[in-house]
């Protein structure tokens, strides 16, 4: 679909009012554009169609019952179960820290997760969540004034190389290939 990008920009309002009016005018006159537009709308409607699905209400009584239970049960701050879990977590963290210090001195032996070799996109998304924004800042110069806690997959749309790209420029300046290039560069970084 050659008009898909334009249609999605229109639907997400990422184009100016003037461009939107121009698009609407074209939509009224071009049967091809209209056909593609309707197909996309239909697909989105199909996705959101389940909002009308009927659900059993009885199941929710468990939620209210659970709240009541949590309110009523006065758990001691450090029950045996909690204390054991606490000790377990501390031990795990101590081991992780110990291992990472050991690995720092023996770089060749360290365990690395090479996210570039992972083909599953959901795993890549997971991996992206572990890359700190501050770390990414060392690679790309980004204007973060308008965003906080943004995860890399979204962030990729905003920066390229040493240039700062404003939100309005993203779609004009970045081609799909450039987008892929940034994505691959970040994913090729190895993370301990």
């Amino acid at each position: 679909m050659k008009n898909r990008e334009r249609i999605l920009k229109y639907l997400s309002s990422t184009i100016s009012d003037t461009e939107a009016k121009k698009f609407e005018k074209e939509l009224a006159s071009s049967s091809l554009l209209k056909k593609e537009f309707d197909e996309i709308k239909q697909r989105l409607n199909k996705l959101s169609g389940n909002a009308k699905v009927e659900i059993k209400t009885g199941e929710f009584n468990k939620v209210l019952a659970g709240i009541h239970e949590r309110k009523m049960v006065n758990k001691p701050l450090f029950s045996l179960k909690r204390a054991s879990a606490f000790v377990f977590v501390i031990t795990i963290f101590a081991l992780v820290i110990f291992r990472s210090q050991e690995d720092d001195s023996q770089t060749d032996n360290r365990t690395e997760y090479d996210f570039a070799s992972i083909n599953d996109s959901s795993l890549l998304n997971d991996a992206a969540d572990f890359i700190e924004l501050s770390e990414l800042n060392n690679i790309y110069k980004v204007d973060h004034s308008f965003q906080e806690n943004i995860i890399p997959d979204e962030y990729l749309g905003y920066a390229f190389g040493e240039n700062i790209i404003t939100l309005d420029e993203i779609d004009i300046l970045l081609t799909d290939n450039e987008y892929d290039q940034i994505y691959n560069e970040i994913m090729q970084r190895t993370i301990l």
């Binding site: 309002s13 209210l64 969540d129």
Partner: protein, 178 residues
């Protein structure tokens, strides 16, 4: 039917039953939003419970600067994102298997067809990065405006538009593959 403000005031005045009315009024919305965010029934029920517990404890701080519904979506979004983050850390440390809760036997759907349709959509949603997913859900399923989503997420309108654009693009690619 009593309006939200009246119910909140009665609850704050000591009438615990009013809270049940608030919970019953909004629990489906909370559940649906949580389900779409976290991807399975058991986790969504856990998030819904956490949300209502927070509401119970913090309702006295709610000043009606926004609607009660907006406030509830805000808490649900935050709780869902935190839940996902914690789950990832647990999975990363090997404390929980990623697929551990996916085969829940319990569900709330009346028909099997509905269940299948919903699972398909929920699985597609899980392929979006969490924050794109959040905007996509609020825009596409809850039919909210960017201004309303801004009130919930705190993100600027420009960022939300870009997130939604990328979410739409990815969703189209995913449905192309089907």
């Amino acid at each position: 039917m009593q309006d939200d403000r009246e119910l909140v005031e009665r609850f704050l005045g000591g009438d615990d039953k009013s809270f049940n009315q608030i919970a019953r009024r909004y629990q489906k919305k909370i559940y649906w939003h949580a389900l779409r965010m976290v991807g399975n029934h058991d986790d969504a029920m856990e998030v819904a419970q956490q949300v209502l517990l927070v509401v119970y404890e913090k309702l006295s701080t709610f000043k009606f600067n926004s609607s009660l519904s907006t406030w509830l979506y805000k808490i649900t979004s935050t709780r869902s994102l935190n839940y996902l983050r914690k789950k990832k850390v647990k999975t990363f440390l090997g404390l929980e298997s990623a697929a551990e809760k996916e085969d829940s036997k319990s569900d709330v759907f009346k028909s099997f067809d509905d269940k299948e349709k919903i699972e398909r959509v929920i699985n597609l949603l899980q392929k979006l990065p969490a924050k794109q997913r959040e905007v996509f859900i609020l825009k596409n399923f809850e039919e909210m405006t960017y201004k309303e989503i801004h009130e919930i997420t705190g993100k600027t309108i420009g960022t939300l538009k870009a997130n939604y654009f990328h979410a739409l693009k990815k969703m189209m690619e995913l449905t192309d593959e089907e």
